[in-house]
């Protein structure tokens, strides 16, 4: 058998679950399945985040709660069943089966319920319980699985319409896809792809170097020394430190501002974080609808920070009270180095921050509501990626009073965001941009840090250009042979 068109990809975490309805919430599932085995009705333009046709060719909003979708004709699932309106209805309904506890459903639909209906063989109508202006973006996330997929238990052999067939899977060792001959679109170059996983970044890098793999994901910045093979890219993650603004001294805006001013973000770049990282001013990338390009990251101004602290202190704020900053290594490699450096910056202006590195579970429970009331002044480091393309997915959860991950209780901001999320077009963007400005200039709920960078190492045989979606989706069709 000709192995010249086979590739091996080494990833950081094991593929131990392949259920497509978790694929947007659990990075590695989407990474392997999305666009390869399972396809979505629409897909996003990586540059503008605008929806483009995929399995659907047209989509229209008939009224605020009704969407009508026209399907591509002549598409087949890997098992030979035709891709039609009934199949789409089954796939959408499957998302809501309680036994599956689909994580994507929780993310993209929240409390909204839907009623999909086949109008004819290629037309589907979706009625939603509440208006869903972002339906196209949601449909760009939702995988279309074959009707034969079990409805009540997680799939172990996902069947979709994509260019690759899920061929074999040994959860302890590897996962193999082969090219689907009946694919509706263009025939990709890669004939067979094998995924393996190693937890050590250095080892992944070595595997490409010695030719055991063609693509190594998430190699460490310090190992990305070979210009020819190592490619860095913004990975959609933005990092920040969130203030819990309920206790002094963090309930004082001067202190929060001072802590922002005290950090020299440029010193991190090229040292602790990759030289390609970008200091962030907002919790989303610039291609997300609602990003405000006019906002600049906080400048580094120790004098001003000290002055603010002095002022706060004079006003009776206990500025030197110990603040606990929680972080978790699972979020970001070498995180404790970053946090230690931050703590040192804050120590310089007289703010006393203690670092506590915790486990993933603890980290989650610290970040989300309900918050315990008996803890002292608290901060938490977190990462967020918004690959869905709209500020909504960030702002509601992180900045409204009702959001699950927020410490802001600002009625004006709530109203602004409420308006923004039901608006469309220009107005939607303006309102979100306005909210972002309010947040940075008035509320100061966080120390915004960086838009993060990942590195991949691409072997000599192939070419591949990563972008911010690569974190959650790696289309094998984008890999070409030299």
């Amino acid at each position: 058998q000709d192995a010249s068109k086979d590739v091996r990809i080494v990833m950081a975490s094991a593929v131990d679950v392949v259920e497509p309805c978790h694929m947007n919430s659990t990075g590695y599932i989407g990474l392997v399945l999305k666009g390869n085995v399972v396809e979505t009705l629409l897909k996003l333009d990586p540059k503008t985040s605008q929806p483009l046709p995929n399995l659907a060719t047209e989509w229209t909003q008939v009224d605020p709660t009704t969407w009508r979708i026209k399907l591509r004709d002549g598409v087949k699932f890997h098992d030979g069943t035709p891709f039609d309106a009934d199949a789409v209805v089954t796939a959408l309904n499957r998302q809501f089966v309680p036994e599956l506890a689909c994580r994507d459903m929780i993310r993209s639909f929240g409390s909204v319920k839907i009623q999909p209906k086949a109008l004819d063989k290629t037309t589907v109508e979706i009625v939603t319980s509440e208006p869903m202006p972002l339906m196209p973006l949601t449909l760009a996330q939702t995988g279309m699985t074959a009707p034969s997929t079990p409805m009540k238990e997680a799939s172990r052999q996902p069947i979709g319409t994509g260019p690759y067939v899920f061929t074999s899977w040994n959860p302890a060792q590897n996962l193999v896809f082969t090219r689907f001959d009946g694919y509706w679109g263009e025939k990709p170059q890669v004939a067979k792809a094998t995924y393996v996983w190693r937890s050590e970044p250095a080892l992944r890098a070595s595997m490409v170097e010695v030719g055991e793999a063609d693509l190594a994901l998430q190699i460490a910045p310090q190992d990305a020394v070979n210009k020819e093979t190592d490619i860095g890219y913004l990975n959609a993650d933005t990092s920040r430190v969130r203030f819990f603004m309920d206790k002094p001294p963090l309930n004082d805006v001067r202190v929060r501002e001072a802590m922002n001013l005290a950090v020299d973000r440029s010193a991190f770049i090229g040292t602790i974080v990759s030289p390609l990282s970008v200091p962030a001013s907002q919790f989303m990338l610039s291609n997300v609808n609602g990003y405000d390009p006019s906002l600049k990251p906080w400048p580094y101004d120790v004098a001003k920070a000290k002055a603010l602290i002095k002022e706060a202190k004079a006003a009776g704020v206990p500025v030197d009270k110990e603040i606990t900053l929680y972080g978790s290594e699972f979020m970001q490699a070498n995180l404790s180095e970053m946090l230690e450096t931050l703590a040192q910056y804050w120590a310089e202006i007289g703010v006393n921050v203690k670092i506590a590195m915790v486990d993933k579970i603890q980290h989650s429970s610290i970040r989300r509501k309900p918050y315990p009331t008996d803890r002292g002044p608290t901060m938490v480091h977190e990462l967020h990626d918004n690959v869905a393309g709209d500020a909504f997915y960030t702002m509601i959860v992180y900045y409204t009073s009702n959001g699950g991950l927020t410490n802001i209780y600002d009625p004006n901001l709530d109203k602004l965001l409420q308006d923004a999320s039901v608006s469309t077009g220009e107005r939607r963007r303006d309102l979100f941009q306005q909210a972002n400005r309010t947040i940075q200039r008035e509320v100061v709920p966080d120390v915004m840090l960086f838009h993060m960078v990942s590195y991949i190492r691409v072997g000599k045989r192939v070419s591949y250009q990563p972008d911010f979606t690569t974190q959650g989706k790696l289309e094998l069709s984008a890999i070409t042979f030299k």
Binding site: A202, A205, D223, A356
Partner: protein
């Protein structure tokens, strides 16, 4: 009637015994060097944080991963700098305290508890021994990572708790070794003779069995010292160890391993410190072993020039 041996003189005074031990030590040059090194480590552990505390934690991103053997940044940087530009030398000196406390406490605690239980289990050889040994079985098969996770989760991650984890998991080795040796020694005639004299079990264990078992235990304990430092390092590697800003040599190695390809020295020097300490302890233990064994002691004594 009696042998004409030169009069050995009356009981040597305390000071003379000391001098004699020192003399024996001097004759084993390796052990002597080891003791010097250990004194150095002990000094660092006592006064390191006080002398160099700030230097060890001062982050200087400009000196990030600065290579060793360069004097550009000052003598503190002769061993290079770590990924946050902190002096590795200073960190090794300051980290000695946590490292020694951690390894020392863990080893001593598990040694004491383990060997005590081992004596009981070996000497009694009845149901108590059964219970102790089955408890040891449980300890041996309880996954240490789970234990680490539990302790770190339920308690706060600090030096004391890492000590608890390490001490608990290392008890069985002392227990089982002690028991195995006791089982054999208790059958020897001199133990039997003591029994006939009316010696209590505790006396027999303390006066006859313990001195015979001690050499083995000491060998194991010194090896465990290294083992514990490394286990702690592995825990750090897996994210379950001691937490920043506290640090130990083990944690430094764990932190440095991600720079193996680009800055080997970050992990190398603390690793070397661990190895040298372990080695010194072992050399010393070997010396003690020989010096306290009347049948072996001549190995040290006969090197004496006075006996020429």
């Amino acid at each position: 009637m009696t042998l004409s041996s030169p009069a050995p003189g009356p009981a040597p005074a305390e000071a003379a015994a000391w001098r004699q031990s020192l003399g024996l030590l001097w004759r084993d040059k390796f052990a002597f060097a080891a003791v010097l090194f250990l004194i150095l480590v002990a000094f660092a552990a006592c006064f390191g944080p006080w002398l160099l505390g700030p230097a060890a934690t001062k982050i200087n991103l400009l000196a990030r991963n600065a290579p060793p053997m360069s004097t550009q940044l000052g003598w503190l940087y002769v061993l290079g700098a770590d990924s946050l530009g902190r002096s590795i030398l200073a960190r090794i000196i300051v980290g000695a305290q946590n490292t020694m406390m951690l390894a020392g406490c863990a080893v001593v605690a598990s040694l004491l508890i383990g060997s005590l239980l081992g004596f009981v289990a070996g000497y009694r050889n009845d149901w108590t021994s059964g219970v102790i040994l089955r408890l040891a079985d449980i300890l041996m098969s309880f996954p240490s990572l789970l234990l680490a996770m539990i302790v770190l989760y339920v308690l706060t991650p600090g030096v004391a708790n890492v000590i608890v984890v390490l001490a608990i998991t290392r008890i069985p080795i002392y227990l089982r070794t002690t028991r195995a040796e006791v089982l054999e020694i208790r059958e020897r005639t001199f133990v039997v003779a003591a029994r006939v004299m009316g010696a209590s079990p505790w006396r027999i264990v303390w006066k006859h069995v313990r001195p015979t078992v001690t050499p083995t235990l000491v060998t194991i304990a010194t090896l465990e010292f290294a083992f514990v430092m490394l286990s702690e390092s592995s825990l750090s590697f897996l994210g379950l160890g001691i937490q920043a800003p506290e640090f130990t040599w083990g944690a430094m190695v764990a932190q440095g391993q991600s720079y193996l390809g680009t800055a080997w020295w970050v992990a190398f020097w603390p690793g070397l410190a661990i190895t040298l300490t372990a080695m010194s302890l072992n050399l010393l233990a070997n010396w003690v072993r020989i010096a306290t064994d009347p049948v072996q002691r001549w190995r040290l004594e006969t090197r004496s020039p006075t006996h020429g």
